[in-house]
């Protein structure tokens, strides 16, 4: 069991995490838009996350916290 929490107000929708996740389970939200006008990243499949923290390692805004 592992998961990530994205701080939606800090995320700038740059997609570096989306591009890095080995499980391809992060996407930029199609429905949400944050106060700065970006589509924040979100986890699309909680059961598939392996807690590798690759996403958080590449996040320039340290918007991701990883739990395992």
């Amino acid at each position: 069991m592992a998961k990530i929490i994205v701080d939606e107000n800090v995320c700038k929708g740059c997609a570096l995490c989306v591009n890095t996740c080995p499980k391809k389970i992060i996407a930029l939200s199609k429905s949400k838009i944050n106060a700065k006008g970006y589509h924040p990243a979100e986890l699309t499949d909680e059961n598939a996350c392996i807690g590798c923290a690759f996403c958080a390692t590449m996040c320039p805004d340290t918007a991701i916290t990883v739990y395992k």
Binding site: A56, D61, Y67
Partner: protein, 255 residues
Amino acid sequence: MDVVFKKPHALTDAPLHYCPGCTHGIVHRLVAEVLDELGVEGKAVGVASVGCSVMSYNYFGCDMVQAPHGRAQAVATGLRRALPDGVIFTYQGDGDLAAIGTAETVHAATRGENITVIFINNAIYGMTGGQMAPTSLPNQITQTTPYGRDVNSAGFPVRVCEMLSTLDGVALAQRVTVDSVKNVKIAKAAIKKAFQNQIEGKGYSIVEVLSTCPTNWGLSPVDALQWLRDNMIPYYPLGVYKDADKRDNMKGDKE
């Protein structure tokens, strides 16, 4: 569930002003992680330079000074002398370190100032809107080289690590990048070593980080990382250019 990755303590909660996907943010986090791991946030003093990272004093939890353009290593030299036990570092862009600040850089290095220099090479002047930097690549299109950098008139890019590695005061000159998880880990190890060298008194340590400027390169953040791999790494090879102890060069004086 346990937390396996969170924001380091030495990075404040202030939201970064950098553009989406700009790798300045990754490097900030790595510096903060190293300050945490070495337990030196309380005695560290950073010097913010002029460029996009001018407001890095808002982001690092330690004490910070903001230096005029190019003068960061002169300010760090003053801090070094005033605070013998302080952990002194600069955080500078390529316009700051390798253009207006070239003299300060070369002389701080050759004096063997016992400081840590974090050098962000993004091959452009980011803050001012994307003009050519000394580090811009041959044929690179910038605001001031719309037909590409012509080496006949604009000369060749400066390879800072190679140049400084010839100086006896330099302990570490290493070029890294942050385009992938693997390279981020290598970059962090280099930054940690650059701080450890200072704590051990080995001399001047510089880590050059090949970094992206998606905004002024006109690329998405993901495409900017690929541009860096395809264009910057071949011209600026990654690796350790110097790993020494300046005190080894002083032995002759004592004997």
